[in-house]
Point group: C2
Chain length 212, copies 2
């Protein structure tokens, strides 16, 4: 892996300079406050994991009141998931070169770098793990993370399908499970490593087919 690629993968862990606390009563635009909160939530999650993630700690780090956080987010899990999405969003954006296979490979390589070279992999594994016995967290996970990420990938593939670059009879939702889902499988059941060779093989298998 190149140094650039590593730095690229580590971006979400940095999450910019810590937002300044504002002690005055001056009204800040809601969008700015929301963005500060998401930076704080994502940064805290990637720095310290779900074990140390509390509404109090996010409020402190973002310089906003707990009341504000509770007004916008129904639960700690919802805030964590929005923070996580926000932290990884730009690094996981789809390139669009007109070559769907190359674009899927590039995005999937960025995804495996984030899972393995930053704390994000451990964080999302713990969130998925905890969601199995926590219905509220599960609902937040599906609604705020896995659903939106799935939709982004499906949208991209439907566009390619309209341009004739993906078989018309393929359900893009199933492809999501066979690319990103396959990575989550190795993340959660790590019998084998998640790496860029794996990302390449996932796309190659699906693209060319495995049958003789």
């Amino acid at each position: 892996m190149t140094q650039d690629a590593v730095q690229d993968a580590q971006k979400p862990a940095e999450a910019g300079p810590p937002p300044r606390r504002r002690r005055g009563r001056g009204r800040r635009p809601a969008a700015e406050v929301r963005s500060d909160v998401l930076d704080a939530a994502g940064g805290l999650l990637l720095d310290a994991g779900m074990g140390s993630f509390t509404i109090e700690a996010v409020a402190e780090r973002a310089g906003v009141s707990k009341t504000t956080l509770y007004k916008w987010w129904p639960s700690k899990g919802a805030l964590a998931l929005d923070g996580y999405f926000h932290a990884v969003e730009s690094a996981l954006a789809f390139p669009d070169t007109g070559d769907l296979r190359a674009d899927l490979t590039a995005q999937l390589r960025a995804f495996v770098r984030i899972l393995t070279l930053t704390p994000a992999g451990r964080v999302i594994a713990e969130l998925i793990g905890q969601a199995q016995t926590d219905p509220e967290l599960s609902a937040a996970l599906l609604e705020r993370y896995s659903g939106p990420r799935r939709d982004l990938a499906v949208l991209r593939m439907r566009g390619a399908q309209a341009e004739g670059r993906l078989r018309p009879d393929v359900d893009p939702e199933v492809v999501v499970d066979q690319l990103w889902g396959a990575c989550y499988h190795r993340l959660l059941l790590p019998n084998l490593p998640v790496d860029e060779d794996f990302a390449d093989s996932l796309v190659a298998n699906l693209w060319r087919g495995i049958g003789t």
Copy 2:
């Protein structure tokens, strides 16, 4: 789904008649005791989930001493995973008709039936979930469940590869993630259902390829 298929899928939940308790001191063959213990562990797990699964309850149900269980299994998780494997093993055996695509589809359909029509899906989801923050359970899961199940599928595919029924340049380990791993993805992040149509689409996508 046919009634037969449903019954087939429900087999693991039944796990045969409860083993008789033996109060005498007569020595029973170790293999028989082990089999009773695995029946008891698998049955308890599928009846009541991981929340009620204890070494005591398995010992009681199998009619053996806790000392025996501790002698053979290093932890509760190890016993649970062996019991789980034992309970689903026969229902997940690979057919061998000489048609790999048909065999993979049939096995994958049996797998999704077990995940969705019996308590096994919830049990394995909870075990995988708990393993994300429990290193001992994680080690037991990889060694006693996901590793052996992965090996069974890979062995089957390598055989097919030797017979020219699977592309020689395909890594069967990656196919495992794109078939069974894709099912675990939907099980753990249930934005969409795990059903037999999904099983069919997984094999169809991989077999024919998705590119144009």
